[in-house]
Amino acid sequence: MIVTILDVVIAGLLLGGLYALIAMGLSLQYGVARVLNISHGEFIMLGALTTWMLYTAFGINPLLCLVVCGPLAFILGFILHRTIYKRLSVISATPGIFEGNSMLASFGLLFIIQNLALIAWGSKIKGYSYLAVPVDLGGALFGANRLVTLGFAVLIGVAFYIFLTQTRLGKAIRAAAQDPSTAGLLGVNINLVLALCFGLGAAMAACAGMLISMSYPVNTVMGMEYTVIAIIVVVLGGLGSIPGSFIGGFILGLIGSIVTYFEPGLALVAYYIIFTILLLLKPTGLMGK
């Protein structure tokens, strides 16, 4: 019994670490840059498939791919914000219209990225084996790759939190999240900060993709599933609250693990029900203002 509980809790934490990482990326993009980026999952897919390609074709260690995928995704996200979303923010009359327009543009991006990937990689499910050795945690067995995933998720989360709270740039990001126009008046280069946030969000997604590819099979249409989870976690934690997304990720992971234990087919259903109830009762989320 105790082993079972431990089993479920650890599985939940392992899943939660991944969710937290995915959601923090989206939270940066929506919370600060105000872009509800539906193509978030496509960056995860890009990270996962690039890692898979580098590992299977060139034998490059997946963890090393972090150095490649992260910066590349950052640059891609930065450029996208500079070209598409910046223009949208200029032509949209109100923040509300901008949110709608930017979401629609990200739909377009979703189709563009996904189909470019389909043309390049095809639609087959891909996987590889890395660090797939079992580790004994008090009687419950878990793959070393999944533990590494959790470790990295926590590491990136904590590092990012320190960056946000301790550095000057982090302060500028928080200011831009609270009130972009006032932050601009106080000398924050708003367009640069927003583009940085968008790029950082994309980089986090790509890192998450790399971690996912170590423990789960991946393919070119995997993105949407993770986008949906990221949106649920972001709403759960409070739109725009980075610590909220971090904690929300773990909460959702635990819920998923518990529901899966009792009724495997209902985990996603449970997520949506929680999501629906939350949107109706407390749309600002757990940590929202």
């Binding site: 629609l104 739909f107 979703l110 563009i112 189909n115 949106i231 649920i232 949506y272 629906t276 949107l279």
Partner: protein
């Protein structure tokens, strides 16, 4: 005075064109190839989905992604009731159940502002898909269902009827006081409330009307697929496609969504079997370009050109 007679004359010509077009469409199955009827039914379906979507999301500016959910409800009504009831009754039930779902969901969520409503409708689709999938596997033991097959001409005529009703409803709503109320809600919700419009009621009701046509279209289209499962019925693309078609064509004018739907249904027809990835790639690119550079869609662009051609006389239209 001169201008007034001109517009009423234009209106008469437009009416005649529409009438002739309708006569051609109604008589088409008697002399055209089977392929034409099938292809036109698909185009009609997209016009219905897109116009219905624009009926609600156009004036209120609340982007709904529930189209596929209502469409899927229609499909499952066809799959469950198709064998035991006459086709027209099934189509009617498909529409009514979708409308009832829209009433319920709308009543719950239309208070949500902007992006929250969009997120919710998006979640609704996924919730219904996963719940149904779980239910089918757990209780019926199979993932999919078979749908009664109906001959192509019947599908064509029913689809045409739904199309005409959809456009007529969209037109009548625009002409009525009700449409003005809807328009004012989209422009300034608080102000609309202050001048005595029951904002929630008007929105929920329009949402339900649009869902009726989407559900009816789903019911009749299901008969063409013979086999459906939750992934086919609640396919997210049926939520995205109408949004793109409407934005590309132009959300504001009545014929904007129609134009967008025709162009994309045609592109899909010629591209999707041979180059599915390139079609979807094009789809995404047009979406981004439309949002960035075509705020009023193709119709807006045409109006601009015409205004320029007549020397800026109708600069504001």
């Amino acid at each position: 005075m001169n201008k007034l007679t001109l517009t009423s004359k234009n209106f008469l010509i437009l009416r005649i064109i529409l009438l002739v077009g309708l006569i051609i469409l109604v008589t088409l199955p008697f002399y055209a190839a089977i392929y034409t009827t099938i292809f036109l039914s698909t185009i009609f379906m997209y016009i219905v989905l897109t116009s219905s979507w624009a009926m609600f999301s156009g004036p209120t500016a609340q982007i709904s992604l529930a189209t596929a959910a209502f469409f899927g409800v229609g499909i499952y009504i066809a799959a469950t009731l198709g064998t035991i009831m006459p086709l027209l009754v099934v189509v009617l039930i498909g529409g009514l159940v979708s409308a009832a779902l829209a009433l319920f969901v709308g009543g719950l969520t239309l208070r949500l502002k902007g992006i929250y409503f969009t997120i919710f409708t998006f979640g609704l689709l996924e919730l219904m898909k996963n719940l149904l999938l779980w239910f089918e596997i757990k209780f019926t033991g199979t993932r999919g269902r078979f749908v009664v097959v109906v001959d192509y001409n019947t599908v064509y005529f029913i689809m045409l009827a739904i199309l005409v009703l959809t456009l007529l409803t969209a037109y009548l709503i625009r002409q009525s006081k009700y449409g003005l109320a809807l328009q004012s809600i989209g422009e300034q919700e608080e102000a609309a409330e202050h001048i005595g419009i029951n904002v929630t009621l008007v929105k929920v009701f329009t949402f339900a009307i649009s869902a009726f046509f989407i559900g009816a279209a789903g019911t009749i289209m299901a008969t063409r697929w013979t086999y459906v499962d939750p992934y086919i019925a609640f396919n997210m693309n049926f939520s995205f496609t109408p949004v793109l078609m409407a934005i590309f064509g132009g959300i504001g004018p009545l014929f904007g969504p129609v134009l967008g739907a025709i162009i994309f249904a045609y592109l899909e027809e010629i591209l999707i079997t041979q180059f599915p990835y390139y079609y979807m790639l094009l789809f995404g690119m047009v979406m981004v370009v439309s949002v960035l550079y075509l705020p009023n869609g193709l119709i807006g662009l045409i109006q601009k050109w015409r205004a320029r051609a007549t020397g800026g006389e109708h600069g504001n239209s």
